[in-house]
């Protein structure tokens, strides 16, 4: 292969190399050289991608194998440090992470509005579906929450962390500087739903915060969080 003359789609040598790279049979040093080339040579990268597409039906030969939960925890620690996302309560509004999260959420909404119609035939209505990943600094409690405005329901997937004996988890929504408002005690279970009353619907929007506190069984007796916040996360438009 001569440099400069390998841009045509059928440059034999390059196509062979792209095929071998995707098949995976080359020695490590040759793979390294080609990986660098993929990053810098768009023509070659296209040849590689074409082979990836051609051979991708073989991917069905890979089984799905459940991953131990410890792997995700180690991954999160590696990527995000030991702290979880935006910290709740204390200094929430001063929290850089919180405002950064808000900025990302707005950017995400903007980007999705622009990009999704290009990628997908049908765009979803913005803000009718929101998601939040809830986690805490000092606990292993993790939930994924999804809110669907059309059904006025919050779906909660329990990923990790158990409630203390004799206690319940209670879900709160915090909008702007307003005090937390209870959305109810979270039923036990891996996948549960909470109905949202009409009065609370306006509180749930992009940038608002979900928080989970540990409360006596049956929920906070005062209408305000009485126990520690064990997990929180901000809401993003899907």
């Amino acid at each position: 292969m001569t440099p400069g003359e390998d841009r045509t789609p059928d440059a034999g040598g390059d196509d062979h190399l792209a095929a071998e790279y995707v098949l995976g049979v080359l020695p490590g040093n040759e793979r390294e050289v080609l990986a660098r080339r993929i990053a810098t040579d768009a023509g070659f990268a296209r040849l590689v991608e074409a082979w990836e597409a051609r051979l991708s039906p073989l991917n069905s030969g890979y089984d799905e194998i459940e991953v131990p939960a410890s792997v995700k925890q180690a991954l999160d620690a590696r990527l995000f440090g030991h702290g979880a996302p935006a910290t709740p309560k204390s200094g929430l509004l001063q929290s850089l992470a919180f405002w950064r999260g808000l900025a990302v959420a707005s950017l995400a909404a903007f980007f999705i509005a622009i990009a999704i119609p290009l990628v997908l035939p049908v765009a979803t209505t913005p803000d009718t579906r929101l998601v939040a990943s809830l986690a805490g600094d000092k606990t292993d409690v993790r939930y994924l929450a999804a809110y669907d405005a059309r059904s006025s329901e919050i779906g909660l997937s329990h990923l990790a962390g158990d409630r203390a004996a004799g206690h319940d988890f209670e879900l709160w929504i915090i909008k702007g500087k307003e005090p937390p408002v209870s959305l109810g005690v979270i039923p036990a279970g891996a996948s549960v739903h909470l109905a949202v009353t009409p009065a609370h619907r306006d509180l749930i929007g992009s940038g608002a915060l979900f928080a989970i506190s540990l409360e006596p069984r049956g929920g906070s007796p005062t209408g305000k969080p009485t126990g520690p916040v064990v997990a929180s996360g901000d809401l993003r438009a899907l």
Partner: protein, 184 residues
């Protein structure tokens, strides 16, 4: 564990959101795809601890490189599997040799219906399967085995008892025949 409710469109949206550093999307994407990608790592590396480590590295790449997906024409799951395969294969090449021979894996054909077996993929799979069927049986097996297990030319040459260059010629020709058949 891997929920059926994540469609290819969902995974596309999740990757786009991950490219914007959306952690909730990252968690969902992990939930939707980690079992498949772990299957890739484990098959290639055939060592649980190493596959777990590799899977983490794969998702670190997904987190940092998700923006590149937007420019890709691959289906989202093919894009993710490609990252996992390349990473696992690079790891095994760096290791020099495999911990265990899994020869029988070469015979695991693509006929097994995978969990992601869906109507769209079905046609492509049948076409590739038919084109592999046009190759001589041992060469088709070599292509499949190399792809799924990450076998090197050296390992294949040994297994099929041919010189390395012969193996290289075989596979190159087989791949080009495959391409021609698929483009027919």
């Amino acid at each position: 564990m891997v929920p059926q409710q994540f469609t290819s469109h969902d995974v596309t949206k999740l990757i786009v959101r991950v490219s914007l550093k959306d952690r909730a999307a990252f968690d969902l994407l992990y939930r939707a795809t980690s079992a498949k990608l772990f299957g890739v790592c484990l098959r290639v590396l055939s060592d649980r601890a190493e596959a777990e480590e590799a899977l983490q590295e794969v998702f670190v790449k997904v987190w940092t490189k998700a923006d590149r997906f937007v420019a890709s024409e691959l289906s989202p799951i093919s894009w993710l599997v490609a990252i996992a395969r390349n990473h696992a294969i690079d790891r095994i090449r760096a290791r020099g040799q495999r911990t265990a021979a899994i020869d029988e894996a070469g015979e695991l054909a693509d006929e097994r219906p995978g969990p992601e077996a869906q109507a769209i993929a079905e046609g492509e799979r049948e076409r590739l399967s038919a084109c592999l069927g046009e190759l001589e049986a041992d060469r088709a097996a070599a292509v499949r085995g190399a792809y799924l297990n990450g076998d090197s030319y050296a390992e294949l040459a040994e297994r099929f008892s041919v010189p390395l260059n012969t193996m290289r010629t075989w596979l190159r020709r087989s791949l080009m025949k495959l391409k021609e058949c698929l483009e027919r």
